[in-house]
C-alpha cells in the first residue's frame, strides 16, 4: 500500500518547482524581468533533474535498494518536461519564433549549439522510454540511453558558456556531474565509499 503511494507522491513533488514558478509569474512576483526568470529557472530545473536521474544508478549500488531504479525513468521524463518548457521560453519569449534568428543563433553561438544538440539527443531517449520500446530495442536500448552522459556534459557546458563572469553556479553543477561520472565509470570508487561508510 505504502509503496504504491510513494511514486505518485514523488511525481507530485517533482511538479512543485514549476507550479510555484508559474504561480509567481501569474502574481507578478518575479521582479522586473519575469521572462528572464522563466527561462533561467526552467533551465536550472532541467539540469537538477538531469543530475538527479544520473544519481539513481550509483544510489542503487550504494544502498542496494530497488527504489532508485523504479524512479529513474520518471525523473528522466521530468528532465524532458523541463527542457521543453525551457526551449519554448527561448523560442517564444526570446525570439518570438523568428526562425532566421534562431538558426543564426544555433550556428553562431556555441552555448546555443550545445543546448540544442543536448535537446535533440534527448528526444530519442524520451521517445524510447516506454516499456514497449525497451523490449523492442533490447540490448540496443541500453547503449542508446548511454547518450544521457553526453547530454549532461552538453547541458553543463551550455550553462558555463552563457554566464558573463560569475562561474560559481555552473561550476557547482559541473562538479556534481564530474563526481557522478566518476562513480559511474570507476565503480571501484563506489565500493570504497560503501566500505568507508559501513
Amino acid at each position: 500500500m505504502m509503496s504504491k503511494l510513494i511514486k505518485p507522491l514523488i511525481f507530485l513533488l517533482c511538479l512543485v518547482p514549476l507550479i510555484l514558478l508559474f504561480r509567481s509569474f501569474y502574481l507578478d512576483e518575479l521582479g522586473a524581468n519575469p521572462f528572464e526568470v522563466l527561462t533561467r529557472s526552467s533551465g536550472e530545473w532541467t539540469l537538477r533533474f538531469l543530475l538527479l536521474t544520473l544519481a539513481m544508478t550509483p544510489l542503487r549500488q550504494l544502498t542496494g535498494s530497488a527504489w532508485p531504479l523504479r524512479l529513474r525513468r520518471m525523473f528522466g521524463l521530468f528532465v524532458f518536461f523541463h527542457v521543453c518548457v525551457h526551449l519554448l521560453t527561448y523560442l517564444w519569449l526570446d525570439h518570438f519564433f523568428d526562425w532566421d534568428e534562431i538558426v543564426t543563433d544555433i550556428i553562431k553561438r556555441p552555448y546555443i549549439t550545445f543546448g540544442m544538440l543536448a535537446f535533440t539527443l534527448l528526444l530519442p531517449l524520451a521517445l524510447t522510454s516506454t516499456k514497449k520500446m525497451m523490449k523492442r530495442l533490447g540490448k540496443r536500448w541500453k547503449s542508446l540511453h548511454k547518450l544521457v552522459y553526453v547530454i549532461a556534459i552538453l547541458g553543463v557546458l551550455h550553462f558555463i558558456l552563457l554566464v558573463k563572469a560569475d562561474l560559481r553556479e555552473p561550476i557547482i553543477y559541473a562538479f556534481i556531474l564530474l563526481v557522478l561520472l566518476l562513480v559511474r565509470f570507476k565503480p571501484a570508487l563506489l565500493h570504497k565509499i560503501r566500505y568507508a561508510t559501513q
Binding site: 507578478d28 521582479g31 524581468n33 534568428e101 543564426t104 543563433d105 563572469a165
Partner: protein, 315 residues
C-alpha cells in the same frame, strides 16, 4: 545648451500601441497600478520613494512621451557586481554602503587636481532632469528620469591639459561594505573610461538622483556616470576617482572579456555580442521585444563623434 530633438523617432515608433496594450495583460498587481499612475503624469516627480528630495529643473528636451520605467523596477533590477552578480541582490546588499561622507579625487592630466567633496559638487552644479533610455548589453532596457548635471561642467572646472585625451573613472573599493568585492568576479575597483569628446558631449551626465530624489544605493549612489548611447556597463556607479589620461583606459569588463566588451561599447544593433544578437531588446515591463536603435536612439547627437571610424572594429 542646444540639443535637437531627433526627427527620426516618432513616439509611436517607440511604444507601439499594440505592445503597450499587450503589456497591460501582464500587469495584474498593485505594482502595475503604480506604474500606470506614473504614466498618467510623467512630469510630476512623484515624491515619497524614501530618498531625500532634490531641487532640479525639469527635462523639457528629452521627454518624448515614452513611458517611464517605474521606480520600483529601476531600483530592484540592477547590475552592480559589487553587491552580487544577479540583478536582485544589489537592492538588498547595497544598503550597507556608507555614501556620506563622499569625495571624488580628480587627477592626472589636469591643471587643478584635488579632492572634491560631494556637498561642494552639488553646490557648484545646478541639477537638471534628463529622461534617458538605458540599454543594457544583456538586451533589456528602461526609461529613467535621472537628476544630474553635465559631466562637461566638472571637467571644465578641473581644467584638463592638452595631453588629456581620455577620462578614466573608478568605483569605490570597500569590500567591508561591498560584499561582492570579496570575490574576484571582476578586477576591482571597477574601471570605466571615455574619450574626451564623449565625456564633454552634452548628453553625458553625472547623475545624483532619479525620480526627483537622491539615487538609491543600488543605482550607484551618491554619484554615477550616465552615457545614454552606450551599453549600461559604461555608466559607472559610485565614483570616487576621475583621472585624465593620454592613453585609452582599460575597463574592468574589457579586462575580463576583450572580445565581448570593447572600449567604445556604443549601442549598435549591427554589431553582435559574441553570444547574442543586439538587434532587439526587451523594455522592462513589455512582453514583446522592440528593435534596438543605433546609438540607442541618440545618433543625431552623437554619431558625428565617430565619423570615419569602423564601428565593427571599434565596438
Amino acid at each position: 545648451m542646444l540639443i535637437k530633438k531627433p526627427q527620426d523617432i516618432s513616439s509611436s515608433e517607440i511604444t507601439e500601441q499594440a505592445i503597450y496594450l499587450d503589456r497591460r495583460k501582464f500587469m495584474t498587481s498593485s505594482i502595475g497600478l503604480t506604474a500606470a499612475a506614473t504614466l498618467l503624469s510623467p512630469h510630476t516627480s512623484v515624491a515619497g520613494y524614501g530618498g531625500k528630495t532634490l531641487k532640479f529643473t525639469e527635462d523639457k528636451i528629452f521627454d518624448r512621451k515614452e513611458e517611464l520605467t517605474s521606480f520600483d523596477k529601476i531600483s530592484n533590477y540592477n547590475n552592480y557586481y559589487e553587491f552580487g552578480t544577479d540583478k536582485y541582490s544589489p537592492a538588498k546588499n547595497a544598503q550597507a554602503l556608507t555614501t556620506d561622507p563622499w569625495s571624488v579625487q580628480i587627477g592626472g592630466e589636469v591643471e587643478k587636481p584635488g579632492t572634491l567633496h560631494l556637498e561642494d559638487i552639488l553646490k557648484q552644479n545646478p541639477l537638471e532632469e534628463r529622461i534617458y533610455r538605458l540599454r543594457c548589453v544583456e538586451r533589456w532596457s528602461m526609461v529613467i528620469p535621472w537628476i544630474g548635471f553635465p559631466l562637461a561642467n566638472l571637467i571644465k572646472q578641473a581644467k584638463p591639459t592638452s595631453k588629456a585625451k581620455y577620462v578614466q573613472f573608478e568605483t569605490l573599493e570597500r569590500p567591508s561594505e561591498m560584499m561582492g568585492q570579496k570575490r574576484n568576479v571582476l578586477p576591482w575597483p571597477y574601471i570605466e573610461g571615455l574619450r574626451m569628446d564623449e565625456a564633454m558631449n552634452p548628453l553625458t551626465i553625472i547623475a545624483v538622483g532619479l525620480y526627483g530624489e537622491v539615487l538609491p544605493k543600488q543605482n550607484g549612489a551618491p554619484l554615477r556616470l550616465v552615457v545614454p548611447w552606450k551599453y549600461g556597463f559604461k555608466s559607472i556607479k559610485s565614483i570616487v576617482k576621475i583621472t585624465f589620461a593620454e592613453k585609452e583606459p582599460v575597463s574592468s569588463w574589457t579586462k575580463v572579456a576583450p572580445n565581448e566588451y570593447g572600449f567604445y561599447s556604443n549601442v549598435n544593433p549591427e554589431v553582435d555580442h559574441p553570444r547574442w544578437s543586439q538587434r532587439k531588446e526587451r523594455r522592462i515591463g513589455d512582453f514583446l521585444k522592440r528593435k534596438t536603435l543605433s546609438f540607442n536612439g541618440y545618433a543625431e547627437q552623437v554619431a558625428s563623434l565617430y565619423t570615419g571610424m569602423d564601428l565593427k572594429k571599434y565596438f
